[in-house]
């Protein structure tokens, strides 16, 4: 930018004290007032400094500059531009300005300036030197814009970006941490885990899988499950699970698979399979958890066998004792001493108790290990109840068992086990209603269920106890003293009924009596 050489500052100060004049305005050009008006109309702040005077003072400013800085003209003229920087003197832009001024070059910088009231504003400053004919730089023209807003927006944008990057960094860290955390869980679990892709290729397995099935990760990952280890995982039942059952029954739990593996032998496995249904990267992946229950099953079997043998051995001398007791009863003369009769009677009763305990022990053991097997056959349900009630009635002459209603059903189930349930419920009813003679039994067909209920008018059961009486070894709080026993009868009943797909429950009021009910579905589910 070339501007005609201006006159010296001193001259200017002498000749022009009003704001109407531009430096060099000596009335030479008729255009000058117009130029001045144009400069004042500009939104840019414009100043001119005189480089020939000491410290390069401002010799002109337009109105926009006054507006921009808040300083009046009188406070501006004669100052070096740096007064706008207030105390903020360490800005690197200053060096750029200084060099440009020294070298007489163009420069443009963005620099923090301060208004008269102290407010910061960002000044986009263009500095152009004005050269005389001989090449000396006589003046500088500064054009400035208040770019605070833009700067602010830029700053905000930058901040935002920084913040976002920071967040992404944190998120990535978090993601890695949680991935590592999940991975450590999967690796620590004492159960084999396999992740399969939708094509049944192995995406990953955990350490327990590798150890249990004696394989390495490289032999396993990215291979089709069925091809693993020369096809040793090509198990028909597993195929059935993954291809036929899982697609329509997600998740599948406790699916039992038995298989003989070439190197590790026969394994009994309990599988949980879960197909990921969530949209996204993991969709249709299959998680397969494999619990090796080979040893557990063997131990359960041994325990069962032991208890079978033990109860058999215990029952043998019990048979003898019971026989002798009965012979003794026969041998006693009719006019025998009452004490003696009592002793014999009590002994007989306790032998019966011992027998029941031994039977219950075996039952509970079997039920616990899930080895309760039902021998299903059709039988007359009402007849079974009548027969069982008769047996109980015979040994409990003090109570009166009254049966009402009928189911009229030939039920398909395990007669001896259901008879055990009825017998148990009836003898409980008698046991817990010592002062009330009547026991009411009702039989009914309700929808597609047979229903059995027995009502006594005895001690009843508190709401608290009602929730727990079907638990193993639970005995209602106030019964322990008066009614000895192990408290497994109802547990067994509940297990037998639920194995038949039925439901056993109690309605009772403390002090008024109880009604025990069970229902059994007439139509058995085919998969039972």
């Amino acid at each position: 930018m070339r501007v005609p050489a201006l006159r010296g500052y001193e001259n200017y100060m002498q000749n022009h004290t009003s704001t109407d004049q531009l430096p060099g305005d000596a009335g030479h050009s008729p255009d000058l007032p117009l130029i001045k008006a144009a400069l004042d109309a500009s939104v840019s702040g414009i100043i001119i400094t005189d480089n020939q005077l000491p410290d390069n003072p401002i010799i002109y400013c337009n109105e926009s500059f006054e507006r921009m800085t808040g300083y009046k003209r009188i406070e501006i003229i004669g100052h070096n531009c740096r007064f706008l920087q207030a105390d903020d003197r360490q800005q690197p832009e200053r060096l750029k300005i200084r060099r440009a001024v020294q070298e007489g070059e163009h420069v443009s910088v963005e620099i923090r300036n301060y208004k008269k009231n102290g407010d910061l504003f960002w000044n986009e400053l263009f500095i152009s030197p004005v050269q005389a004919a001989d090449g000396r730089v006589t003046h500088f023209i500064g054009v400035q814009h208040d770019v605070t807003r833009r700067k602010q927006a830029e700053e905000d944008l930058y901040r935002e970006k920084e913040l976002r990057e920071q967040k992404i960094k944190e998120r990535t860290l978090q993601l890695n941490a949680s991935k590592e955390y999940l991975d450590s869980i999967i690796q620590t679990v004492r159960e084999s885990l396999v992740v399969l892709g939708p094509d049944l290729k192995v995406i990953g397995v955990n350490r327990h899988f590798l150890n249990t099935f004696k394989v390495t990760a490289s032999e396993t990952e990215d291979k089709s499950l069925y091809d693993l280890g020369n096809g040793q995982w090509n198990i028909p039942k597993l195929k059935e699970l993954l291809e036929n059952i899982l697609p329509s029954n997600n998740p599948v739990l406790d699916f039992e698979v038995e298989h003989i593996f070439p190197h590790i032998g026969k394994k009994l496995m309990l599988l949980n399979a879960y197909r990921v249904e969530l949209e996204g990267e993991y969709r249709d992946r299959i998680l397969l958890a494999i619990e090796d229950i080979t040893d557990r099953r063997a131990i359960e079997q041994r325990k069962d066998d032991f208890l079978s043998v033990a109860s058999h051995e215990l029952k043998t001398p019990l048979t003898t004792i019971k026989g002798y007791m009965q012979i003794l009863e026969r041998l006693l003369p009719k006019d025998a001493d009452e004490k003696l009769l009592e002793v014999v009677g009590k002994s007989t009763k306790h032998i019966e108790r011992l027998n029941t305990l031994i039977k219950e022990l075996l039952d509970v053991s079997r039920i616990q290990t899930g080895n309760i097997t039902l021998h299903r056959e059709r039988f007359d349900f009402d007849e079974m109840v009548r027969e069982t009630a008769d047996t109980i009635q015979n040994v409990s002459p003090k109570h009166r068992l009254v049966i009402s209603g009928s189911t009229g059903i030939d039920y398909e189930g395990d007669e001896s086990q259901l008879s055990q349930v009825v017998s148990n419920l009836l003898s409980n009813a008698i046991k817990y209603s010592p002062d009330s003679a009547n026991i009411e039994v009702n039989l009914a067909r309700v929808s597609d269920y047979v229903k059995f209920s027995v009502t006594d008018f005895g001690v009843g059961i508190s709401p608290d106890d009602q929730r727990k009486i079907f638990e193993r070894f639970y005995r209602a709080s106030d019964t322990q003293k008066n009614y000895p026993g192990m408290g497994i009868g109802l547990y067994i009943c509940e297990q037998i009924v639920s194995h038949h797909g039925g439901n056993l429950w109690v309605d009772s009021e403390h002090g008024k009596g109880s009604t025990f009910n069970f229902t059994l579905p007439i139509k058995q589910k085919t998969n039972e």
């Binding site: 079978s308 109860s311 058999h312 029952k315 043998t316 001398p317 019990l318 048979t319 003898t320 004792i321 019971k322 026989g323 002798y324 009965q326 012979i327 026969r330 032998i351 027998n355 075996l362 021998h375």
Partner: protein, 118 residues
């Protein structure tokens, strides 16, 4: 009616007790503790009824029952199996026993069964 009853059980106590209980009813009782000797005893004594335990060492009650039921001369010999085994009844019936009684049993019930088996 008085019967000739042969009882086979590997437990001495059971044998003694049964002998005493049935003897009182005027049955003629003999006992055998070793199941291996049982068939010989049957041949010699020609009992009217056999009371047989299930779990016995070497030769079990169901094996004996099967053997006897296959022998024309003994297939009509009534066999009452007595056992403390939970699955005893199933095993006994499958082997061909005529009746079954779970240990421990009621003497009256035993007598009833003894009476009815011909």
């Amino acid at each position: 009616m008085s019967k000739k009853i042969l009882i086979c059980d590997d437990d001495e106590g059971i044998l003694e007790m049964l002998e005493m209980a049935l003897y009182a009813e005027e049955h003629e009782i003999s006992t055998e503790i070793n199941s291996l000797k049982l068939i010989g005893r049957i041949r010699d004594e020609r009992p009217d009824l056999l009371i047989l335990d299930l779990w016995m060492p070497v030769l079990s009650g169901d094996q004996i029952t099967r053997t006897l039921k296959e022998m024309p001369e003994y297939k009509n010999l009534p066999i009452l199996v007595i056992s403390a085994s939970r699955d005893g009844e199933d095993i006994a019936r499958k082997a061909g026993a005529n009746d079954y009684l779970a240990k421990p049993f009621d003497i009256d019930e035993l007598l009833k069964k003894v009476e009815s088996l011909n």
